[in-house]
Structures are given as C-alpha cells and as structure tokens.
C-alpha cells in the first residue's frame, strides 16, 4: 500500500525537480554549463549569479507554487462539487481577484497594493458566494456551483466595464494581469509555504475525502461529518486559489486539467491525487513559464497561453485513450 502511493509520487517529484533545474538552466541569456556549475557551487561571475539566483530561481519557485496551488484547489473543488467541470475559478474567485487587482491599477496603485487588493477581492467573492449559497435553506453543491457561476458572470461584467473606462496607457498591464503572467510574481515564499502546509494538512483527510467523493449520503453513512468537511474544503480551495491568483494573475486551465489527467493515470484515490496534483501542477507551470519567457525572447508570452497549448492536446489524448 505504502509502496503503491510512494512510487508515482516519487516519480512526479523527480520530474518536478528536473523541470525546475531545466528552468534554471535556460533563459533568454545564454549561460554555459561551466557558468551554471560555478553558480551551483556558489561561485561564478556576479552576472550569472544574478540571472540564476535572483531572476530565474524565484520565478521558477513561484511558477511551481502557483501551479501546485491551482491544481490542488481544482482537485478539491471537483470533490466538493462532485462535478468534473469544477475548477478553482468556477466560483467567481478569479473574477473577484481580478476586480480587486484592476481597481487597484485604475486607482494608480502599484505592486504590493495590487496584490493585496486582489487577495481581498478573492476573499470577498468567496464570502459573497458562500453567504448567498448558504442563504435560507439548504446548502447543496449544485446551488453553490450555480451561485458561483452567476457571481463569476457578474465579475466578468464589472471587469469589462473597468477595461472600457480605463485610460489607454493602463490597458496593457491590466490585460496581461488577466491573462496571467509570472513576470509579475514577487517573492515565491508565501504561495510555496502555503502549498507545503496544505499538502501536509490534507494527508490525514484523504480517507474522508475519498468517501465524500462518492456522495454525501454514503459519506454520512460511513461516519464522516459531512458539513464541516465540505466547508473546510471550500474555504481551503478558496484560499489556495486566492494565493495563486494574487501571485501571478489568473492563469486558467491548470486547475481543471491537471487533476483529471492524474485521475486518468492514477485512479481516484485522494490520498494520492492531492499531493500528485501539487507536484504535477507545479511542474506543468514551471515548464510552461520557461517556454513563455524563452520561445520568442526577448518578447515574453503570457504563461496561460502555454499552459493551454501544452495541456489541451495532452488531456485530449488521455481522454481519447481511456475507454
């Protein structure tokens, strides 16, 4: 049993480490293997060190953390809503975050304030959806899903309005934020620590999540306290998404496709899927971001484009092969 869990995770971890090393080795500036080795040993010229340690490393770690957070949040949402189409953004979170970020940009605020405003927007949207779905009467996954989708549509309208009213010179920055872009990421530590903490906290919950995935009645019959577990998942997934969106804007697709891909390959055991999502989501985004910043360098592409271009064919292939 333990072997069965650790083998795929070990393999995914190896691939993740390889992806990060790859992203440290390539960039628009050509560094030779000798230079890279010198940097690894803590030597090398100052320029190469700056490139690898101060530009590539934080960006690769941010990409890994954001990809992992989005994939885990997606997996949790799919368990919670028991709907294969659920993804971290479906409940209006990215809409709320985008609204917060764009409002900060419109108000002429910079850097940290944009991140803070995006985070507040995401939390506000979370509580809004939660409060409305809770409302009077029961709290069902379909009601939560519908509330979230409608709130998301509302945010979409607000965002379009803001874009239409914003001064022309601010538009590019806003559009790039909406497309998702890791060049805006600052320190990688908050999302990375959150990802690690989440994975550790979810380990003891794996069994309950497995039961919940089969339906709340079965879960209740098997002695799982369904309501607090569902609330916990919702709040956790929201927090993870908010942290990811705040770091790198709204990057679509990772949260939807990575969990499904892994389920097709590994089966639907949450004890395995959740940490696997963290590793595979992170790896996908690290690779996508590396391509985004090198493909047509010095021009930079939005990473969301690459995640979709890489992920869509892979996912369709897996889906076609299964059954």
């Amino acid at each position: 049993m333990v072997m069965r869990l650790w083998q795929p995770l070990g393999l995914l971890a190896l691939i993740a480490v390889a992806a990060i090393l790859f992203s440290l080795a390539v960039g628009s500036a050509q560094l030779s293997a000798v230079q890279l080795w010198a940097v690894v040993q803590g030597q090398g010229d100052a320029l190469a060190r700056t490139m690898v340690i101060e530009l590539r490393l934080p960006r690769a770690l941010s990409a890994f953390a954001v990809g992992g957070l989005l994939a885990v949040a997606g997996a949790l949402m799919q368990v919670l809503l028991r709907n294969p189409l659920a993804d971290p953004y479906v409940l209006g979170l990215s809409g709320g975050a985008s609204m917060g970020a764009l409002a900060a940009m419109l108000a002429g605020m910079g850097g940290v304030l944009i991140s803070g405003s995006a985070f507040l927007g995401a939390l506000f949207s979370t509580f809004l959806v939660f409060g409305l779905a809770h409302g009077s009467g029961g709290w069902t996954p379909s009601r939560l899903l519908l509330t979230g989708v409608v709130v998301a549509a509302g945010w979409g309208a607000v965002i379009t309005l803001m874009l239409a009213l914003s001064p022309a010179e601010r538009l590019p920055g806003m559009l790039y934020w909406l497309m998702g872009d890791l060049s805006y990421a600052r320190t990688p530590w908050p999302p990375l620590l959150l990802l690690i903490a989440t994975c550790v906290l979810l380990i003891p919950l794996g069994r309950s999540l497995n039961v919940l995935a089969r339906g709340p009645l079965q879960a209740a019959a098997l002695g799982v306290d369904v309501r607090p577990l569902e609330w916990g998942i919702y709040i956790a997934a929201s927090l993870l998404t908010a942290a990811a969106v705040t770091t790198a804007g709204s990057i679509g697709f990772v949260g939807l496709v990575v969990p499904h891909m892994l389920r097709l390959l590994l089966g639907n055991d949450q004890r395995l899927i959740l940490p696997a999502c963290a590793l595979a989501g992170g790896t996908l985004l690290v690779l996508a971001d590396t391509l985004a910043r090198t493909m047509i360098a010095p021009e930079q592409l939005p990473v969301g484009v690459i995640t979709a271009l890489l992920g869509v064919p892979t996912f369709l292939f897996l889906l076609y092969r299964s059954r």
């Binding site: 960039g27 628009s28 500036a29 320029l47 700056t50 490139m51 101060e54 530009l55 590539r56 917060g100 409002a103 910079g110 850097g111 940290v112 944009i114 991140s115 803070g116 405003s117 985070f119 507040l120 927007g121 939390l123 506000f124 509580f127 239409a164 001064p167 022309a168 010179e169 601010r170 590019p172 920055g173 790039y176 872009d181 060049s183 805006y184 990421a185 600052r186 320190t187 530590w189 908050p190 705040t246 910043r293 360098a297 010095p298 021009e299 930079q300």
Partner: protein, 310 residues
C-alpha cells in the same frame, strides 16, 4: 467597494500579516556617497550616478528617441520593441516590449542606467530591477517644456550636456516661435482623432491637445474629463469641428479620414478640411513633435484661409 474590502479585512488579523509578506522591497532612491551626476526624475526622486552613464537601457520608444536627442545615442545598449527612431536605434539589442520586459536579457546587457516609463512599464519588474541595484530614471513628459527639460536631464546623466542643451533649446525656441505665430489667430474648432476603433480623441491636458492650442486650434473635446476620451460618431457630428486631423495606421494611411466623408454636413467635410498628420511626429513626446506641430499649425492655417476665401 473599498468599504467592502475593509470589512473583509476584519475577517482575520492574519490577513494583514499575509499582505505584508506578499510585498517585497519598496523602491528607495539611489543615493551615492560622492555623487557626480544627479537629476530628479518624473517620480520626484533624485537619481545620482558616480560617473556619467555609459550603458543606457531605454524602456520605451519615446525614451529611446529622447536619449538619442540628448546626444547619448552611442551609449544606448538596450531598447524595447517599436524603438524605430532614429533609424540607428533599430540596430540596438531589444529587451522585449515596454509592457513586458525580458529582465534576463536586460540584466545581461549590464546597463548602468535604466530609463523607465512611469505609467508604461510594469511596476513589479521595475521593482525587481531596483532590488538588483540598478539605477532607474523614470520619465513621462506631459508638456512641451517637459520634453525639453527631459532631454536636458538625460544629457546631464549621460554627460552630454552641450548636445542636450542645444537640442532642448532648439525644441523650445521652435515651439515658442509656433506659439507666437499661431496661438492668437482666429480659433479653429478642431477634432484630433487618435484612433478609429474605438474612436478616440484627446483633451486639453494631453500633449497633442496642447499642440492644437498653440496652433490656435480649439479642441472640441478639450474639456473632456479623460485624457484620451472614447467617443462615437454622434459626438463628433454634434461638435461639428471646422477641421479634422487624424493620425492613422502607418505613416501614409489616410483611411480614417475617408470615414468622415459620409457626413457631408460636417463643417470640416463641407470645406474639405480633413488632414493627415503622421502619427509618429505628433504622438510621441520627443523633439520630432516640433515637426508634427509645424504640420498641424499649417493645416489649421489652411482652414482659416479657406474660411476667409469663401
């Protein structure tokens, strides 16, 4: 909306800590111990260099043009896309676009001075540059005098004061001569078209709006609240300008003007006062603005002559 945001803030004190954490360093001005060259940038920060800048990176097409005008063209080692003037600038290494800079390529060129664009460059990337210890000088000239003044400040940092001073003064004098000649003449109701879809103009605070005024034009959308208001045909028909001046896609394209010919009742169409001014001469805050202003003033003068003739 921000009240709601504030309410959310009360949901946990931990959030405050999280927000603090999310931020990295806050930009601080560079203060050298024994500075030899200092200038105040358009963020109001004093930027000082130990010696004149030898390797300059310009992060907007306008900054490139101004730096060349300041006589520091030979010191420019990095530009961004669309830096197409002067032609020599096309041969300089590009480090991406002004909205998304390839930081690696930029750092690899080891500039000793980066000329940033206040509202055009992404703040996050500029913060990273400053955290790496690169002196950044932000510019954004919004008036005729600011263009001249920016050239002088760039020349001070680059150690090319004589050339910069001369270029700045030529620009100042040229614009002053245009002002003296045209600004008091009969006002011409003018519509300046920046873009066609969506239809956009400028207000009086915009540099182009200022040029229209100094040519004795009266910008029909001058009192709009936004710097670059978005409009529809109806607004232009209601304003009924005597002259329509448009840029266009590319330097020769008059297509935007033919659009207006479907409204023969417009005063500007009736008197055939539809004029093209090459956008690169008037839409960038650089010394070439003098040439653009010259053309624009002549077009408005042409309009006045037709009016007198009829």
């Amino acid at each position: 909306m921000f009240t709601l945001a504030n309410k959310c803030m009360q949901f946990g004190g931990a959030l405050g800590a999280a927000l603090l954490w999310l931020g990295s360093g806050i930009a601080t001005p560079l203060h050298a111990d024994n500075p030899s060259r200092c200038a105040v940038d358009d963020l109001g920060r004093e930027v000082c260099l130990h010696a004149s800048a030898n390797r300059i990176a310009t992060l907007s097409p306008g900054a490139t043009e101004l730096t060349y005008a300041a006589g520091a063209g030979d010191q420019v080692v990095a530009v961004v896309s669309y830096s197409d003037y002067p032609p020599e600038a096309k041969d300089v290494a590009s480090v991406g676009s002004h909205t998304r800079i390839d930081l690696e390529a930029l750092v690899g060129l080891a500039p000793d001075l980066v000329i940033g664009w206040v509202t055009g460059n992404p703040a996050e990337q500029m913060d990273t540059l400053e955290a790496l210890g690169m002196p950044v000088f932000y510019i954004e000239p919004r008036s005729v005098e600011a263009v001249a003044d920016t050239i002088e400040r760039l020349a001070r940092l680059a150690g090319t004061e004589p050339v910069g001073k001369q270029a700045a003064n030529e620009f100042r004098e040229g614009m002053a001569a245009l002002t003296a000649r045209y600004s008091e003449r009969d006002p011409v109701a003018t519509f300046y078209q920046v873009w066609d879809e969506p239809l956009m103009s400028v207000n009086d605070d915009h540099l182009i709006g200022q040029v229209v005024q100094l040519c004795g034009g009266e910008n029909v959308f001058g009192d709009q609240h936004r710097l670059v208001p978005r409009l529809d045909d109806e607004a232009v028909l209601a304003a009924n300008p005597d002259a329509i001046i448009a840029g266009g896609m590319g330097e020769e394209n008059r297509d935007w003007l033919t659009h207006w010919e479907q409204y023969p009742n417009l005063a500007a169409v009736d008197a055939d006062n539809l004029y093209f001014v090459p956008p690169s001469l008037i839409q960038r805050p650089t010394p070439r603005l003098l040439e653009g202003a010259q053309i624009l003033c002549e077009k408005l003068e042409h309009t006045r002559q037709k009016r007198r003739g009829s």
